[in-house]
């Protein structure tokens, strides 16, 4: 069982829900990211999603686009982030998944990526521009090492597509709350619940919801219907602004998620 699966089993076993914050590796630099990982864990994160900057982040809104630009300006690459996670493992065992775009992995080499990332202690990867249909080779390398490749279901996904994604996804299934990009305005409505119900009809894997969740109220609503809540842009914005109340905000999210 992977570290992510274990974490979900533990959290759901005590009737809790997983809190999955996202930050961009290297925004504004890797030393700050190291501190932030510590803060996220201290404030109750269950899994940390670590963005790896790409020049053309199609699924991201302006907040994360700018964060990626800052991190690229710091010279942060996929190889450096893998090494960075390796160094984090001296102090923390929290599950860490990377989120990035396929070209970086393709250039790095899929087999080498899975091998080096697993060895460094990365637990999985989310690649928004890689549908399961195109992920055959990445999946075959990952299965050998127990590395989780997490796929996304969108509000527009058909029943057939949901089945395919649910079957391929490992660790958890990422449900995108809205048609849109990260950091968009969320409207918590019944359709999210009905989509999650559809996913649950085909799979017993945990379902985490992300995109647009910004307030503790929204996080609490989502936690009622999902197994995990992913918060990205709202945290990244506070990191950008060097918000002194970051910890309080994270704790309020943690409490709201339960």
């Amino acid at each position: 069982m992977s570290r992510i699966e274990k974490k979900f089993r533990e959290v759901l076993g005590r009737k809790g829900k997983a809190f999955i914050p996202y930050i961009m590796a290297g925004d504004p630099n890797l030393e700050r990211t190291r501190e932030l990982v510590g803060i996220l864990e201290e404030c109750g994160a269950d899994v940390i999603e670590l963005g790896v900057p790409f020049s053309d982040p199609l699924a991201d809104g302006p907040t994360i686009q700018k964060a990626a630009q800052r991190a690229l300006g710091e010279g942060v690459t996929l190889g450096k982030v893998i090494g960075f996670v390796g160094s984090l493992r001296k102090t923390t065992q929290i599950p860490i998944v990377l989120m990035t775009y396929y070209n970086l992995i393709f250039r790095f080499g899929e087999e080498r990526f899975v091998r080096e990332a697993s060895a460094a202690g990365v637990d999985g990867i989310i690649v928004p521009d890689l549908p399961p249909d195109e992920a055959g080779s990445l999946l075959s390398f990952s299965k050998k090492t127990g590395f989780d490749v997490i796929f996304l279901v969108a509000p527009t996904s058909t029943g057939e597509r949901i089945k395919k994604v649910a079957r391929a996804s490992r660790g958890f299934i990422y449900y995108v709350s809205i048609t849109g990009i990260t950091g968009s305005k969320l409207s918590v409505n019944a359709s999210i619940g009905s989509h999650i119900a559809k996913i649950r009809q085909t799979s017993r894997k945990p379902v985490a919801v992300g995109f647009g969740i910004a307030t503790p109220e929204e996080a609490s609503e989502i936690a009622k219907i999902a197994d995990g809540v992913i918060v990205g842009s709202a945290i990244v914005k506070r990191v950008e602004d060097a918000d002194e109340k970051l910890k309080q905000y994270l704790i309020s999210l943690r409490k709201a998620i339960g």
Binding site: F54, D56, L58, G79, Y102, N103, F106, D129, G180, I181
Partner: protein
């Protein structure tokens, strides 16, 4: 297509250009005479009709030189659809005439000021819009790029160029041409011309990329000369990228060729050896731009001037019975101000 776009566009024998070069006969496929001044209308109208049929109320598109934006805004006006065009702020500055045209046609022009502020970033923003508004909106991608089935949709709508050219050259010369030459940004005018001739093994085909200021990273947009295979915007193809896989900046004097990736079918045709790919520099394109204006009284688009520059290099070395067709993909009205600026002339 006949009464609105003006198809078939003429295949014109460029007699004075041919004589000035002293070699092969040069014919120009006059896409510059199509409505809105470029081949882009062929695809934009096709996709506008598709959108209407699918019940979408809104069209969005990216544009580099502005030609595809104008064509899409035209299609939207004709079909009674809302329209928003994404355009990089650098391109807005160098193609202000087309920006105003789009607005006249009832479209909104959204300025994209992130990344390289050119075509690549306009595509990113259009895709982000589309992901958000997919229920009401159709994305009219302007070139043979992007996720399947866009490369084939656009190729098929543009293939009218080659179908006409084949019939016309058989009428005028009684045989197929020896060479086809077209410029390549994403590669839609080239695919449109080439597609019908792929099985005619005696027809040589040349795609001309933007060599910019020379093949140095950031100074050109010649993906085959200076790029490598990668995945961008839903497509695996040749890209200009760094060792880590981040996309590099590009430069070309022509906004329509200033793009870091090339249509995937061109990568296939390159690897199979069916099409030869080369590049023309800014300087060569500007020189061809002036040459055609003076010898034929036709001001070509700077994009098409790259194809002409290759014909200028190729024709003198060929015998006079050889036949070249150059796709004159657009007219140069939109570029006149930009060229004046480059020459330091104030209008």
């Amino acid at each position: 297509m006949k009464n609105y776009v003006g198809r078939p566009t003429p295949l014109y024998f460029a007699k004075r250009l041919t004589e000035s070069l002293g070699g092969a006969k040069i014919y120009l496929k006059r896409e510059d005479l199509a409505h809105t001044g470029a081949h882009k209308i062929n695809n934009a109208l096709g996709q506008a009709l598709l959108a209407k049929r699918m019940g979408k109320k809104r069209l969005i598109a990216e544009t580099g030189a502005g030609q595809h934006g104008v064509a899409t805004a035209t299609g939207a006006a004709l079909c009674g659809l809302e329209c928003e065009i994404y355009m990089g702020s650098d391109d807005i500055a160098r193609q202000s005439l087309n920006v105003f045209k789009m607005k006249l046609l009832g479209a909104e022009v959204a300025e994209v000021s992130v990344g390289s502020r050119t075509l690549k970033d306009a595509i990113n923003e259009a895709m982000r819009d589309w992901t958000t508004n997919v229920a009401t909106t159709h994305y009219v991608l302007g070139t043979v790029f992007g996720p399947h089935p866009f490369p084939t949709i656009v190729r098929d709508f543009q293939s009218v160029i080659g179908k006409e050219a084949k019939k016309q050259i058989l009428d005028q010369e009684g045989r197929l041409p020896d060479y086809l030459i077209a410029c390549i940004g994403g590669g839609s005018n080239a695919m449109g011309l080439f597609h019908q001739f792929i099985k005619d093994k005696d027809v040589n085909m040349i795609g001309v990329e933007a060599g910019g200021r020379g093949i140095v990273p950031g100074e050109h947009a010649a993906r085959f000369a200076g790029g490598s295979v990668g995945i961008l915007q839903g497509t695996k193809s040749f890209l200009l990228q760094d060792d880590d896989g981040n996309i590099l900046g590009t430069h070309s004097v022509s906004a329509g060729l200033d793009y870091a990736a090339v249509g995937p079918e061109h990568s296939f045709l390159r690897d199979s050896g069916r099409v030869a790919y080369t590049y023309a520099t800014d300087e060569e394109a500007l020189s061809a731009f002036e040459r055609l204006s003076r010898t034929e009284g036709i001001i070509p688009a700077l994009e098409s001037s790259h194809a002409l520059a290759e014909a200028v290099k190729l024709a003198p070395g060929l015998s006079k019975d050889k036949v070249i067709i150059v796709n004159l993909s657009g007219r140069g009205d939109k570029d006149v101000q930009h060229v004046a600026r480059i020459k330091g002339i104030e209008l």
